[in-house]
Symmetry: C2
DNA sequence: CGGTGTCATGACATCGGTGTCATAGAGATG
DNA sequence: CATCTCTATGACACCGATGTCATGACACCG
């Protein structure tokens, strides 16, 4: 590979002059510049990042740690939308700022994080983005003291800058959209109750109900997420059994994510219940591969992963410019409700019922 | 950040001795080694990759170009399985060889490839993996003359090493599995006819049919892929209309990918046809988010993206060791047929029919 | 006891750029 | 024409590692 010295002698100038042409940081006569440029082309010269960053003490690298890239089939916790979309958003921003993203993954094994950070340190990354596979508290202490960091989809209690989805607000808005269609008996098939998202979304769900003056029927809230493992279909059957066991059958079902909604579609069909005529179904994530392809297309709340990635990268870049930072609460990113064919108004008899209720409540 | 000089003076030895401790390439007395190690710990020393690679002329970096990471929502050509899984496989292998993967993405725009390669060259990557989003001919000439490259999911006519899926073999095996259940009237809802995968799989489909002595009914082969765009559901309706228009209705439907199968499930339900009792459905890709979650779970052929990534990385590493390489044909990677609930034997009357036919053919 | 080999260590140059400072000319000015 | 600015360029050191070669301290040998 050609060096700046090769270019210099080829063009009959000093290496420093070549450097000046490269960086445009000092006047160079047009004649010299042309000669240098021609030499660079002729030799196929590309400057060495290593030499540059060594002198400048700036690597121009941002490290990103994720589990997405090698969620091995074994550990595959396909909770919802792949973190990949977060990486997308971050990549776009980082690249625009003329830095390079160094992506590493844990392969699903947290104990590999120190190694990855070590590699980042060898490369002298200027900052680190740590991306979790779903909204959760940070499960470890990140090494790499002194390197600015931004957490994405997770948060710690040290005040490290963190970007998380607004689960409560998203479920609230989605539930409002369901109620706006006239539904009053709304079931909620949640993800695992231990998950951060479940707790927050349940809050949003309850908030929307109570605001509409609808008491929460505990029978209509069931958990049914096994991360896609074999027993899950059975779990959903059972949950639906409970939903439809009572006198007042739900006219709409909220699902913990689009993946659950996909399973619910199939199971409802098997039970002779059609979507959306008999019961409306909504998901969460707006995993478009699912939500747009399902028939009927799925109404869902956007999990704004791409926007979160963008925001995280911006936050990190700001942090790199400003230097110090004070602890702050996680930044919550909101998403849109995507209204599609799976959500319609309940049948007339139910609607009447609802209108009566409504009347009663409001008078 | 501490340097080797800091460590040296802290330990009271020369920088070169610190280097020896780091690399273990020359004898160092235990006492000295302990002092150096202690100094490194005390200072939090991490060697500089830049300085090392400058001296050694080896970057230890492998570049990977993909479109996966920022398939913007606009261009989102969600044809099947995300290339992500290819990246996974490659990452695992590269990491095991103590190299670092530098991942860049085109953001769906091919014209950015030269920039990315340029960045790779600045970092002096030792090799490049180019990953296409679906099986296709390479659409551009890759810059970066002299850098060993391996194509994944695509191929050129220059004999560049390439790793592609065995689409023909996969569809052949899958179709055989369908026929083995006793189906004789099998429809095929293909992806866009221009796609490499469509051509190859159709070959496999036809091969399996003809081997079973079943003539191909052209009416039972329809294309219906719009990459998930809005008009697609209608397209599938129409294709299914044609399938069920004739006297002999298909008892099984092969779909171009799992995503199409997901849409087909919904549309069949709407038409009052149950899966798998009335008609069996199979997909392609084994996109487990879909195939395992759909109810009933989907029989499908594995698109071995992870294995392809592994093979590609290995091929590249071999190439780096051996040096020169002679042009070769693309390496085809086969996948397994995943038998799940969506494929069962056709109803008795059809089976009788089949048995008759079979009898006729065999006698 | 001098010669020789081994072990442990250090001095110094080098990789490919860039920052600092010096300097040769070309014009401008008085 | 001497002096003063600029402009354009080069010499040289340095960033943080490591390869090469040299050397001091012993131990061993005859």
């Amino acid at each position: 590979m050609a060096t700046i010295y090769d270019v210099a002698s080829h063009a009959g100038v000093s290496p420093k002059t070549v450097s000046r042409v490269l960086n445009g940081d000092a006047p160079v006569s047009k004649k010299t510049r042309d000669a240098v440029t021609a030499a660079m082309d002729a030799l196929g010269y590309v400057p060495s990042h290593a030499a540059r960053s060594m002198k400048s003490h700036k690597s121009g690298l941002i490290g990103l740690i994720t589990g997405a890239i090698s969620n091995t089939d074994e550990t595959a916790t396909q909770t919802g939308l792949p973190e990949l979309f977060i990486v997308q958003g971050a990549q776009a921003v980082i690249e625009r700022s003329r830095k390079t993203l160094l992506i590493s993954d844990t392969g699903g094994r947290l104990d590999r994080v120190p190694d990855l950070v070590r590699t980042f340190q060898e490369h002298r990354v200027e900052g680190i983005l740590y991306v979790a596979d779903y909204h959760k508290p940070l499960e470890l202490t990140l090494p790499g003291k002194g390197i600015p960091k931004v957490l994405v989809n997770c948060f710690d209690d040290q005040g490290t800058p963190a970007i998380v989805p607004d689960d409560e607000g998203g479920q609230y808005a989605l539930t409002k959209a369901v109620l706006a269609q006239g539904h009053r008996d709304v079931a909620y098939l949640t993800l695992a109750p231990t998950q951060e998202a479940t707790k927050l979304r349940l809050k949003g769900f309850k908030g929307a109900l109570s605001e509409a003056g609808i008491p929460l029927d505990p029978r209509l809230v069931q958990a049914a997420d096994l991360f896609g493992s074999p027993g899950e279909h059975q779990l959903i059957w059972d949950a639906l059994d409970r939903f439809f066991a009572g006198a007042k059958r739900p006219t709409a079902i909220c699902c913990g994510n689009d993946r659950l909604a996909m399973a619910v579609y199939g199971i409802l069909r098997r039970r002779g219940i059609s979507v959306p005529e008999d019961v409306s179904v909504v998901g969460y994530d707006d995993h478009r591969l699912i939500s747009e392809t399902l028939y009927p297309a799925l109404t869902t709340a956007e999990l704004p992963y791409s926007a979160m990635g963008v925001r995280a990268a911006q936050t990190l870049l700001d942090l790199l410019e400003d230097g110090a930072t004070q602890p702050s609460a996680p930044i919550r990113i909101g998403g849109q409700v995507q209204h599609r064919a799976s959500l319609i108004a309940p049948r007339a008899e139910d609607t009447d019922n609802v209108i009566n209720l409504k009347g009663r409540n409001e008078i």
